[in-house]
């Protein structure tokens, strides 16, 4: 094989890459926090909420889980403006990620809620807590603890999926790689480097989720 690898561009384009990483991380943090919050609210409605809300949330969840993220992104960024909803690329990407993770985490968290022993709800009720107070103070934390590994995996999946936001010109890590390859014609090297960065981010994110888990749940597995 005569191909000569060339990473000479790396130092020149380091700022682009750094910026790309920042944006990818920002998308992940915002998407992760708001997405899980949305997912929690949806899980509550599906498991314990008023009956009129359940089919609404179920429809949202099924729609998102059965369509590609790319199309959700295009629909939000290209489709919604024709209804008069204008937004910039980064906002569209953030919204798409929150909506996407919201649906997946809804199902994951719901499984955690449904695994709660009935006695926990009854103990809350017998202490004069309302159903919502019982959910908020008694059921929620052990439920999240139960499904934390699955939720962590999903957050990593969403982070990796965010690579496609480069398609609406959000300047994330993938965008930086595309930019570099278009300038240097060193496509292979550019993509290898960014892929390895993604791998490192995925590993770090998994560790971070584990860390957050130990802070949120100082007690080991609740049954």
């Amino acid at each position: 094989m005569s191909y000569q690898f060339d990473f000479a561009w790396a130092s020149q384009y380091a700022p682009q890459i750094a910026k790309g990483i920042m944006i990818t991380v920002e998308l992940t943090v915002v998407g992760g926090l708001l997405g899980v919050a949305l997912g929690t609210a949806c899980a509550w409605s599906r498991a314990l909420g008023p009956s009129w809300l359940k089919p609404v949330v179920a429809t949202y969840v099924e729609l998102i889980r059965n369509t590609p993220f790319l199309i959700q992104l295009f629909f939000i960024f290209f489709g919604l403006p024709s209804l008069g909803v204008q937004m910039n690329e980064l906002t569209a990407a953030n919204i798409a990620m929150v909506i996407n993770l919201g649906a997946y985490s809804c199902e994951i968290i719901r499984a955690g809620i449904q695994a709660t022993p009935k006695g926990q709800f009854e103990a809350g009720a017998s202490l004069a807590m309302t159903p919502f107070e019982t959910f908020r103070h008694v059921v929620l934390v052990p439920s999240l603890q139960r499904i934390w590994p699955a939720l962590s995996s999903q957050v990593v999946i969403v982070m990796l999926g965010s690579a496609v936001v480069s398609q609406i010109a959000v300047e994330d890590l993938t965008f930086a790689a595309n930019f570099i390859q278009s300038r240097t014609f060193r496509a292979f090297e550019a993509y290898i480097v960014s892929t390895l960065i993604y791998l490192a981010l995925a590993i770090l994110l998994r560790q971070a989720m584990r860390g957050i888990g130990t802070i949120l749940f100082p007690k080991r597995a609740a049954r």
Binding site: M1, Y3, E62, L63, R65, N66, T67, P68, F69, L70, I71, Q72, F74, F75, F78, G79, L80, P81, S82, L83, V156, L160, G161, S162, A163, V164, Q167, T174, A177, Q181, A187, F188, Y191, I192, S194, T195, Y198, L199, A202, I203
Partner: protein
């Protein structure tokens, strides 16, 4: 400007959706075969094979599918192969699916009680025989629901191949949008078509899972 009827749009999308289906099938079946190989490595008693499989899975599950597509598309070109988009798409999706299927199936194999391995070993079976006659038949049953569930991920994954220029449903969506200037309608329809492909599979996976749970409870 030419007027497009809803039917014009839908017809174009449906035609392109055939390629989504073909690519999904190829990726799923190919990914299944490669995944089986990875699975065998992953559960092999030889540690270095084991680590090889782990590395493979970590690499493909820890990096974006889009990057894998780019590398297949641009990387294979380095070996002097002129890579058409469909080939890069197929290769990347097969390798990607293999990692996920291997990991799903590993969970199923490990869910089979250790006693089953020991019992079959005590009957003088070799490792492959144990697999073939004792472990796989049991693992297959619990593997079915998550495997069907993963097919949904494959279908959705094929949408990324539009980015390297393979013309399937998503790419057709962009092309038709550029021609009609009706992004809301077109992407809405594209989403509905994906939904029509994926939802039955999601539902079957759920139903299979529920059946399995009921069967287990009755044991």
């Amino acid at each position: 400007m030419i007027e497009f009827t809803l039917w014009d749009i839908l017809r174009n999308l449906l035609l392109a959706a055939r390629w989504t289906i073909v690519l999904s099938l190829v990726s799923f079946v190919g990914g299944g075969l490669v995944g089986l190989l990875i699975l065998f490595l992953r559960i092999s008693p030889k540690t270095w094979l084991n680590w090889l499989a782990r590395g493979y899975i970590e690499l493909f599950q820890g990096t974006p599918l889009l990057m894998q597509l780019f590398i297949a598309f641009f990387g294979l070109g380095l070996f002097g192969i002129d890579v058409p988009a469909w080939l890069a798409a197929g290769v990347a999706l097969i390798l990607w699916s293999a990692a996920f299927l291997a990991e799903i199936w590993r969970g199923c194999v490990e869910a089979i009680a250790k006693g089953q391995w020991e019992a079959s070993a005590s009957l003088g079976m070799g490792r492959l025989q144990q697999m073939r006659y004792v472990i796989l038949p049991q693992a297959l049953k619990i593997a079915l629901p998550p495997t069907v569930g993963f097919s949904v991920q494959v279908i959705k994954g094929t949408s990324l191949t539009s980015i390297i220029g393979f013309v399937e449903l998503s790419k057709a969506g962009s092309v038709v949008t550029n021609a009609t200037f009706l992004p809301f309608t077109v992407y809405g329809l594209v989403a509905l078509l994906y939904f029509a492909l994926c939802w039955p599979l999601s539902k079957s996976s759920q139903i299979l899972e529920r059946k399995l749970n009921v069967a287990h409870r009755n044991h």
